[in-house]
Amino acid sequence: MTNKEKKAAPKGKGKPPTKKAAPKRKRKPPTKKIPMPEQDAKKRSHNFDEVALGYTAKQAKAEAAKCIQCRNPKCISGCPVEVDIKGFVLLVAEGKFMEAAAMIKETNSLPAICGRVCPQETQCEATCIYGIRNEPIAIGRLERFVSDYARLHGEPLPELPDKIGKKIAVIGAGPAGLTCAGDLTNMGYDVTIYEAFHKPGGVLIYGIPEFRLPKDVVMAEVEFLEKLGVEIKYNHVIGKIRTISELMEEDGFNSVFIGSGAGAPNFMRIAGMNLINVFSANEFLTRVNLMKAYKFPEYDTPVKVGKRIAIIGGGNVAMDAARTSLRLGAEAMIVYRRAREQLPARLEEVHHAEEEGVDFNFLVNPIEVLGDEKGSVIGMKCIRMELGEPDDSGRRRPVPIEGSEFDLDVDMVIVAIGNSPNPIIPESTPGLKISRWGTIEINEETGMTDVSGVFAGGDIVTGAATVISAMGAGKRAARGIHDFLNK
């Protein structure tokens, strides 16, 4: 957040101060990122096609050419998996797109996804040195461009080392599990992923909508891993069909990685949460994305769509639910208890949501969902908030304004106030250390849990976080597993 604010300020002021030390050379005005072509806001708010269309080769080369190839680049350390950004941007500028893609893949196994969903404005782009005076280099857009280019032009498979002859089980085919599996396969292990759903990708498939992350992109990244030799077993809920100790003791796995995510939806502790037209964002998005309810009745899964939908929350999940609601023909309003500056969603998603016509209600908190005798939603009672003293996280805490209650006229409510870890694995695995929040505790360095040989990472450890942090955790655990098995 603070990074964003700092960055925004000088841009608006225009000319830099010139009083001190007479300028030796003329300073150019600050540059902006080359804009990325997008679908028109009016049109796209009625379809599920991808919003951002990606750079052309010419645009990518021009954007990359702005990079000043810093001797001590700050972009790389801003990236949670330390992609060689300086290096790949240079290759883009030289038009060597395939080489650039290969360079990214050395450290990031899912670049086409990260280029689309990473919060670059708080990571690599926040620290970019060129970005001190200008808008930073559009690293995310370049990452997206080269990985799309490589996918379309047929990526060669990397050479794999000889098989080590050891088996690893990975639980969950989300970003954490996929990354861990990819890295271990690259080291020569035999890896089997067990996935509860019938499709891979975790949140990338069932949560993040098609218009932001086309499912073809996710499937292509997964197929790449399968070509490397990763085996994925679907419809396997570990803890139910097989326990972790059975995997290790009976099925011969030498080590297990848990990447089961934080998929259990939280609801508010207010009256009316079980009314018919109240949904968790997970349910709403799963119906639409994974089960393709937007194509009902061609697809059998139905979805409810109100006329006016309130979405409670201000993160990426809330933005996705709101923009999906719009596309299904509803009016969508975000109800967020803090102020605009505190929205945790990616900046680009907030912009897009606004352009498309999502209505934002800041400093408003629901206190009851109102229903009729049939149990359907007929409104939501809310109270206005103001910002008080900073809380533990340093954010100013919202406090209710007495007597400011009002009713919001809505007929459907989507709750997007966060997800917690699913209890199935913790409950079925004796010996794991579980925190107060239901997350699994690990050794930060190795990624190992309290059960020898069992590692964990991603949202199941951190609580709901980001794609790239889950991938980073999957990488760390892959190294941890390798070290553990070679002690």
Partner: protein
Amino acid sequence: MYEVLDKKIINEITKMLVVQAPDIARVCKPGQFVMIRINETGERFPLTVADFDRKKGTVTITFQEVGKSTRLLGSLNVGDKIMDFVGPLGKPSPSDKVFGTIVAIGGGCGSAIVYPVARAFKEAGNTLITINGARTMDLLIYREELESISDEFYETTDDGTCGTHGFVTTVLGDLIKQGRKIDLVFAVGPVPMMKFVAKTTEEAKIHTMVSLNSIMVDGTGMCGACRVSVDGQMKFACVDGPEFDGHKVDFDELMARLNAYVDQEAVSNEKWASEHGGAE
């Protein structure tokens, strides 16, 4: 893919399929369920494990054709394949425990769901009284199976075509009035039936377990579609249940939530009927 190895038409609206699913058959327990997605365009929906054979690696499901998905499933034949078959899900019944005398009640298709649990209760050493109910005689199912495992066996039909004329609660009420010592009542059937069973046992303070059939999407605790109120607390039927203390369940809320998609269900149903002819 999960192959259908055997099929039995129990009555006009009730079918039974034996499905090849060795990994599930190996570990499933009475009271658990599976989530099914028949084909690429299908929805995910839950069915209880009505029986299993660990040696043959099969899981049996028995279901009533009430809408598009169950009709499509009922149209499958031996050799056909089900795309996704996920389980075993939910918490198992405490059917390996000794309570004493247990009254097992099945209504409609619930009788198929009650059967494996009742059988396990019996095998664990409980005395088993079974009440099998339906609207009319043709809809009574699992009659021989249930009778063969029961110490006492009663049947009821709403229209009096077989057994006691009345509801399962008619017989249950009589047993209670007679002062029979009952340690546990286990009931599965339509929500109104379970609601009235719980009412019937409430005064006599007989512990009553019901198996809830709320609408589900994933069946693994990830969506909250299946949430129910139990003792005023929000529970997810798929991971916290599906069995709950019948005296604490908010049945009216469950009934309202089960009706959430009636309009869309009608659309799906009509589409199915127009494509396949017949059936409503």
